[in-house]
């Protein structure tokens, strides 16, 4: 647990959740595991932000939830992307890429 990890800004967390759900519907635990896994433990999702974020996204209508059965046969709440969630993800990805490219350029020139 000594590896350096980064706290995520709220907007960034929202985007990562959307991206994760774009692959397949998933429960809260799975989302946090997946983000940690893909970022190779660089990004750690704080549960204290994850669940409020999920609720916020659901209230905005970007994701929806449904009770299902997990891998180990327990009832779990599965979140999936809605149509407007998909649109939002595309927009945010684009913005993110434009911004990171810009930031990168600035960092390289100095």
């Amino acid at each position: 647990m000594t590896k350096p990890n980064l706290d995520l800004l709220q907007g960034t967390l929202d985007m990562l959740i959307l991206k994760t759900l774009a692959l397949q519907p998933m429960h809260g635990w799975g989302i946090s595991q997946r983000i940690q896994q893909i970022s190779q433990d660089v990004l750690v999702v704080n549960q204290g932000s994850l669940y409020p974020a999920l609720v916020r996204l659901e209230e905005k209508g970007l994701i929806e939830s449904e009770w299902g059965v997990s891998e180990n046969n327990r009832r779990a709440k599965y979140y999936s992307l809605t149509r407007s969630g998909k649109k939002q993800l595309n927009e945010e990805t684009e913005t993110w890429e434009r911004m990171t490219t810009a930031v990168q350029k600035i960092l390289q020139t100095s």
């Binding site: 429960h27 704080n46 204290g48 669940y51 327990r74």
Partner: protein
């Protein structure tokens, strides 16, 4: 905003589900995490605690989620409500006073609104009541705007119109109904067979009329009104099918009407036109000028009141062309359409608008006064609020808490108001019944409840928002001035403005009450010109098929009057077609005096005077003085010389120089002449009107009355002899009904009831306002005394006299009262103009009323100042100085 509401609503409905879902979801997460740790080699125990450590506060997460789900809002509201109720419980005095004041204020508004709702806002309980109209024939040049219709005219409008889907006629009659225990005079509506169909009234029991019921010579049938069915038959449904004897033939009851306002009159029974012995006469039907009917219609789909009016104009024009002799151009002739709703409520509208204004004013005063009390309480709660703010409560949160408290209070007050309103409903319904047939519809329905709820919320918001927005502008400053000596300058201003407004509005209400009282006193003081006490009146409506000649009617009248006079306790008996203060209008006559020139334009231009047919002892029974000549005697019979008696007004106007007695005038357009044998004192026919010029004719000389009002002067309580009277009458004719037993005192009380009740309502409202305002003044002054006790202490320590301190405090109160009076006078002058129509012999800007009201308010205001001001003079300088932090 919309989403917030939706979320809040959903949160309320699904709060439990949201909570349990969240618990389960978080538990799942924790378990999975623990499993993951176990997989990495931790023991179950270690895994669990590690999980909880990394996870962070479960409760914080839940709280955050609750907020997001909207549950938070509800939770905050609950907290506020609980806290508010606790605070209110802690100051029971304030709470009780506030709830009582709010209850009275909201209750008054609820009660008046129920009446407005019942008689004006609700659609007529007839099917599509807004499409029903009355048609009136008018002669504008002769100032007649409601001329009855003849059968011919009804027929013309029925067949020639293109805009009405039904045209029906109505006229009121009374007949004698036999077959119940006692003979009974029943008020009867005579109507077209489709009358109820066109008005859209479905029977409660049985059926209404069909075309065959209106055929010539059809079997006579009756439909009972709901009220009569209840009154006479105790609501027995078996009455349908029973037959009763009326007009010498059996009439079968075929149906009962539902409980609806009847228009134009409250009738006992209805019959088709063919059953009315007058309406069905051939001569009557053929005569275009035999007018007695009213006409109603239903507007066809797609037509409007305007298009109906155009249609009627066309028909009226055609009639005028076809029958110029019947519709002379000199009087003009038109037909007008008037929506029934408007016709039903036109007389109660001014009364109701004045009452709702008044009730609204009272509520405003209540609001201002509770706002003032709340500000005072807030100042005392300064520390609490300051601490809460210091602990991080946002301004919005504090204001929300204060408003929740106010609205809680006002909603409880609203419930109290509903109770007050419900308690007064009976009285108000009877009051409204004097003005409109729709009074039966008054009830506290869903709309009234919604109104009360909304008014309660608005009231709470109004008296809560003002103090709440005043609170906490500057936290640091208020912490600094923890003593609360200097912060409240702006609040003082607000409180002063509120008090001035209260005084002004109270002034206006007092003016209303004062003018109404003055008007009522004038009415009460009217001397009707006769002795009201110990006189029993009754109505004897003769069976016209039995008493169908003058001789029979004379014989009957003579017999019963002499029998009545034989009764123990009766000193004299008199009869007339009407009597003073009675609602029955007397007949009228064109006055033409023998030997004087005819007026220009002939007989029909001669002045109209009232005409009474009275029995010999009528004047004596009423206690009317004979000023000159003689009254009537039994010798003024059918074959004797024609005689009349005139009243003082007539004698003074037409015979100012000569003796009226000995003059002759005509009762039959100049064919014969009757001598004036006496002059009697003036008596009021209507309490509020001038005494009309009147001619009295001996009833025993011209026994033409079908309905006699009989008056008995008694030695004891007049009411007690009614049974004996009834018995004496039935001995003469067991089939002759008598009803409407009232004493003259009761008749007068009935005339005075509406102004008395209006005055009483206004006085109650005004007193309420006065008490609340006085309490408000005392509160403001008292508070400023306790706030300034430090200053007062210094002044007194420096040698100020008690009188000077007293004056200093009183001056503050005097300024408030003076400002309030000034504003009140302006408002009062405006308000009194609205009342003008309700006043009798009192000018709306009546100086006496304005002076008296100013004086009352000034005295009450001063008294309210003096109590707290005296407390100021008892301030002990050492205590006041020491107590300062």
């Amino acid at each position: 905003m919309f989403r917030m509401i939706r979320r809040a609503v959903r949160a309320i409905l699904r709060q439990r589900k949201i909570e349990s879902d969240l618990d389960e979801e978080l538990q799942f997460h924790l378990d999975m995490q623990a499993k993951e740790y176990e997989r990495r080699g931790m023991s179950a125990q270690e895994a669990r605690s590690a999980t909880l450590r990394t996870f962070g506060g479960v409760h914080q997460i839940k709280e955050q989620v609750r907020d997001l789900r909207g549950v938070g809002l509800i939770e905050v509201f609950r907290q506020d409500l609980r806290f508010g109720l606790r605070t209110l419980r802690k100051s029971p005095g304030f709470t009780l006073v506030a709830i009582l004041a709010l209850g009275l204020g909201i209750g008054a508004n609820t009660a008046i609104f129920s009446v407005i709702n019942g008689v004006m806002l609700r659609p007529l309980p007839y099917e599509r009541g807004d499409r029903i109209v009355q048609i009136r024939q008018q002669r504008p040049l002769a100032n007649q705007n409601n001329v009855p219709f003849s059968v011919q005219e009804v027929e013309d409008y029925r067949t020639q119109n293109h805009t009405l889907s039904g045209v029906v006629e109505y006229h009121a009659m009374w007949f004698i109904l036999l077959g119940r225990e006692e003979p009974e005079r029943v008020q009867t509506g005579v109507v077209s067979h489709n009358f109820f169909h066109v008005l859209g009234i479905k029977p409660l029991l049985g059926r209404t009329f069909r075309p065959e019921d209106e055929q010539h010579e059809a079997d006579a049938v009756l439909v009972l009104s709901y009220g009569y069915w209840q009154r006479a038959f105790g609501g027995n449904p078996n009455v349908v099918g029973q037959a009763f004897q009326m007009n010498d033939r059996p009439h079968t009851v075929i149906g009962v009407l539902p409980q609806i306002p009847q228009y134009p009159d409250e009738n006992d029974v209805y019959m088709p036109t063919s059953a009315c012995p007058f309406r069905s006469e051939d001569k009557f039907i053929a005569n275009r000028t035999a007018r007695m009917m009213q006409v109603f219609g239903r507007i066809s789909d797609g037509e409007t009141v305007q298009s109906v009016q155009q249609d009627l104009d066309t028909i009226a024009g055609r009639l005028q062309q076809d029958h110029p002799e019947v519709y002379p151009a000199t009087t003009g002739y038109t037909a007008a359409v008037i929506p029934l709703e408007a016709a039903l409520t036109s007389s109660i509208k001014p009364m109701l608008s004045m009452l709702i204004f008044t009730a609204g004013f009272v509520l405003l005063i209540v609001c201002a006064s509770i706002a003032n009390l709340t500000i005072a309480r807030l100042l005392r709660r300064e520390r609490e609020i300051t601490i809460r703010a210091a602990m991080g409560a946002s301004r919005v949160r504090i204001v929300r808490q204060l408003i929740t408290e106010s609205i809680t209070l006002s909603v409880i007050g609203g419930v109290a108001g509903l109770i007050f309103a419900a308690a007064s409903m009976n009285m108000l319904t009877r009051f409204a019944a004097r003005y409109t047939a729709r009074a039966v519809e008054i009830s506290m329905d869903a709309r009234v409840l919604v109104f009360t709820f909304v008014v309660s919320l608005l009231t709470g918001a109004l008296f809560g928002l003002l103090p709440a927005l005043q609170s906490r502008r500057n936290l640091a400053r208020s912490l600094r001035d923890a003593g609360g000596r200097t912060v409240s300058r702006s609040r003082h201003r607000v409180r002063s403005v509120l008090i001035v407004a209260q005084i002004a509005v109270s002034f206006v209400l007092l003016i209303g009450a004062g003018l109404m009282m003055r008007s009522l006193f004038k009415l009460e003081a009217i001397n009707p010109g006769f002795n009201l006490h110990n006189v029993l009146t009754m109505r004897i409506a003769l069976n016209f098929s039995k008493y169908n000649t003058s001789e029979k009617r004379l014989d009957f009248a003579q017999r019963i009057l002499s029998d009545f006079e034989q009764l123990p306790g009766v000193t004299s008996a008199g009869a007339n077609g009407t009597f003073p203060l009675n609602e029955e209008a007397p007949g009228s006559l064109r006055l033409v005096v023998e030997g004087r020139p005819m007026p220009e334009g002939g007989f029909s231009q001669a002045p109209l005077v009232d005409l009474h047919f009275v029995s010999p002892r009528y004047f004596e029974t009423l206690g009317m003085q004979v000023l000159n000549g003689r009254g009537f005697s039994n010798t003024d019979g059918i074959d004797a010389t024609s005689v009349v008696v005139v009243n003082e007004s007539l004698a003074r106007r037409y015979f100012p120089d000569d003796d009226a007695t000995g003059q002759r005038l005509t009762l039959d357009r100049g064919a014969t002449w009757a001598s004036v044998v006496g002059v009697v004192a003036d008596v009021k026919q209507q309490l509020q009107a001038d005494v009309p010029d009147t001619i009295y004719v001996p009833l025993f000389q011209r026994p033409i009355l079908l309905t006699m009002q009989v008056l008995l002067r008694t030695t004891g309580d007049p009411k007690l002899i009614a049974p004996a009277v009834r018995e004496a009458l039935y001995k003469n004719d067991p089939e002759q009904p008598v009803d409407n037993f009232r004493t003259l005192d009761e008749v007068r009380a009935e005339v005075l009831a509406p102004p008395r009740l209006t005055a009483a309502l206004l006085v109650v409202f005004a007193c309420l306002a006065l008490v609340i305002t006085a309490a408000g003044i005392a509160g403001v002054i008292g508070f400023s005394v306790s706030e300034r006790s430090h200053e007062i202490g210094i002044r007194m320590a420096l040698g100020a006299r008690r009188g000077a301190v007293l004056w200093m405090i009183l001056r503050q109160g005097t300024l408030l009262i003076g400002a309030g009076l000034a504003a009140g006078i302006v408002g009062g002058l405006g308000f009194s103009q609205v009342m003008q129509g309700l006043l009798f012999q009192v000018q709306p800007n009546d100086l006496l009323t304005f002076l008296a009201v100013s004086l009352v308010l000034a005295i009450i205001g001063a008294a309210a100042c003096i109590l707290p001001a005296r407390r100021a003079t008892t301030v002990d300088p050492t205590m006041a100085l020491r107590s300062e932090p």
